[in-house]
Amino acid sequence: MRLVLQRFCVWGSGYLLVWGGANLMLRAALDISPGLLLNGLAGLFLIFFTVLLTEWRHMPDRIALTALLDQYNHLGGLLMAADKLDTSSWLAKLKTPLCPQVEWRARRKGAICLLMTVFSTVTLFTPYYLNSQAFSNKLEIGATVQKLHEQVTILKEETLLKPDDAKHLEEQLEQVSQTAQGRNPARAYETLDHLNEQINGEAGKNVRDLSAKMATVDHAETLARLLANTEDLKPAIRTQAMQALTRMLQEISGDAANLASAKNVKLMTAIRNGAMTPEQMAALPSDLKSLRMKMAAKLKRLQASGMTTAQLGDVSSSSAAKPEDSGLKAFLKANAENLTMADISALCQNPGRGGVDRGRGDAIMTWKAPTSDKGARFRDVTTPLAGVAGIEESQPLGVTLAAPPPDQALPLIKSGALNEAAAGGGSALIHQVRPRHKGAVRRYFNRAPKETKPVRPDFFDEIWSGWS
């Protein structure tokens, strides 16, 4: 019986472990009630009868038990031989055989069995929400949805997105966050990708438009400042400049509503009529600057939210800086009479900073003190002979049995950088620069400077001092 209990303890522990695990899964996945799961206890009865049957089949026969009794009592085979021989006379001399006791050290297996029983019981009475949390299939996309929400809010606050479109996007984001399931993550991620493209596409379009208008405001601000700070412009040039300013202001008229509000109506009327008063002209640069700063701040916010590229962000930040009036005044005072409309346009387009249309080649060069060659020395380097150096680039044509005869046809080394270069197929790789060109190089650097028209040194210094 102890053998039955021992084996039942082992098998039962295994069964309880499996049953407990199954309880957890079934409750979480199918929400089966504990009462129904209790039917699994019937498996223990099945196991008990299986163990009983197994042990019954493996029960030792009478011979084995006799041998056990004989060995236990040290009877020297008398009990085992009793079938074939009358051993009673010998056995009578011995003490009565004792029945051996079967001992089972059940501490470890009993502890495991108890542990498994507790485990399976706990699995039956674990609160449902713990199971459901453990087996929840919800897809975690909260961070992505939150980011997109923030972007939509920014676009809405900056009036870069229509309220209806913003509402529609927010509804879609809410729907995705609620319906996203781990069973089909591709669907949720595809929807998020689509919304991301839609939001960023809208933002990009607005950013490009804003950047273009900001450049125009930039130009207009510079031109307004130029016109406000000089009285010495030729009338014809001033008229052309005013016309250009008017065109620029009309281009940004939609955003010009953001100019100082009290003067909006009068200012816009004056702009449209091309008849701005001196007071309006005087206030215009600061108004345009304020507009430009607002646009730059808007671009910075879009950049911070990840909706603009870094290049646009750089443009917006660098555009915030403009030359000071003092520098411009000094420049205009000195050059107002000579300025043409082209110069004015160049100034307005931030000369020296490159442009989208004309590029850096249009920038005015700044000449400072030339690099001195005083103290410079050439280091003498012995270049390898052309024939030796050519070995590295040569290709084998064949193998001779004996040492090849010296090629008499090869000319001796002569002067010239392209000496021994193949005619027509010569490559720069095999050109040899010879030391005798050292003199030519030295003469080039020692040549007398050409006569050039003197440039007033402080011309551009004034300009750059205003930009810095």
Partner: protein, 345 residues
């Protein structure tokens, strides 16, 4: 050879046999002092009709023991001192040309010393393998075949060989086939000081006293007959078979020590030998049946020279006795295969 008698043993027969063996052992113990357990195993080997190999240092009484035994049993005995130049003919015998009274000449077989009941092969490992092998047939079949003629040896025939575990230069270790023919190998150890004191105090020049009682030749035959009727129960036979099987490293019940140190295990002849010696052991204990204890008592002596150990055993200084002792401790007698946490008390 005696015919097998199936008549059940009686208590009186066993008592009678026990009286004779006790007397014999007492006489042996009186003449050769201080080797009681050895004497018991020697007698067990003789009752099992097996050959005995005695191993021990010079001067411990190996030859004296064999000589005394032959005198006590009233058996003919011959002693052969094995030397490297000993030839097979010196043991088995040879044909010599003799002239008859009629003046004819014919080959006459001159029996060798092997034609005796008790052959003392002293220092058997000093003879060449050729000479050692001359004993193979005699030991197994109790016959000698020469020039196509087979001659039976007298019954009973025992070979009691001695060998010296030291001075191995110029010796020829016994081949496995021959060593397997020895039923038991017994180690003869030195005496303790008390016994030595007794020897030198009571015996001039170490000469043993003359035997006072001898076992008649027909008494030995009776003992052989009783031996045949000792019952070997099936569980004990199964235990013996499992034990011999477990000496093989690839056996299911082989112990870790067997797997580590044994190259070849014991042969079926060992199982037969264990069964026979355990019968004799039971007879000396006045029992008509063999128990597990008898198997345990004789296992070491029957198995120790039959296990071929590997070099690792030599390095770890493990000998066959240790391995057999481990086997006896590990192997469950009844073979019930109980789980580890189930014990019988």
């Amino acid at each position: 050879m005696t015919a097998i008698n199936d008549t059940p043993l009686t208590s009186a027969e066993i008592e009678s046999a026990n009286r004779q063996t006790v007397k014999l052992l007492a006489e042996l113990d009186r003449i050769v002092l201080g080797q009681k357990e050895l004497h018991r195993m020697v007698l067990v080997t003789l009752l099992s009709r097996g050959h005995l190999l005695l191993e021990g240092l010079p001067g411990v009484g190996k030859t004296l023991l064999v000589k005394t035994l032959s005198e006590l049993l009233e058996l003919t005995w011959q002693r052969v001192q094995f030397t490297p130049d000993l030839m097979p003919g010196d043991i088995l015998g040879y044909h010599i040309l003799q002239e008859t009274e009629q003046g004819q000449r014919k080959m006459v077989f001159q029996k060798g010393p092997v034609f005796t009941n008790l052959l003392l092969a002293d220092e058997i490992n000093r003879a060449t393998p050729k000479t050692q092998s001359a004993l193979l047939e005699a030991m197994q079949e109790q016959t000698v075949s020469l020039l196509g003629q087979t001659r039976k040896l007298p019954f009973p025939f025992f070979v009691l060989a001695t060998q010296n575990p030291i001075e191995l230069e110029g010796t020829y270790p016994l081949p496995e086939a021959q060593i397997d023919r020895f039923l038991c190998k017994l180690n003869v150890v030195s005496q303790d000081p008390d016994i030595l004191t007794q020897i030198i105090a009571t015996r001039r020049r170490g000469e043993p006293p003359a035997p006072e009682q001898r076992l008649p030749a027909n008494a030995l035959n009776t003992l052989f007959d009783l031996m045949n009727r000792i019952i070997l129960p099936t569980p004990v036979a199964y235990y013996t078979a499992r034990m011999v099987s477990a000496t093989h490293p690839d056996a299911d019940e082989a112990t870790r020590m067997v797997r580590d140190y044994v190259t070849f295990g014991a042969s079926p002849r060992a199982a037969i030998g264990m069964a026979e010696t355990s019968r004799a052991y039971a007879l000396l204990d006045s029992r008509p049946s063999v128990g597990f204890e008898d198997i345990k008592a004789v296992a070491r002596h029957v198995l120790n020279h039959r296990l071929i150990l590997n070099h690792k055993a030599r390095i770890d200084q493990i000998n066959a006795d240790i391995i057999v002792a481990d086997l006896l401790n590990t192997l469950d007698e009844t073979g019930l295969k109980l789980p580890d946490d189930i014990t019988i008390r």
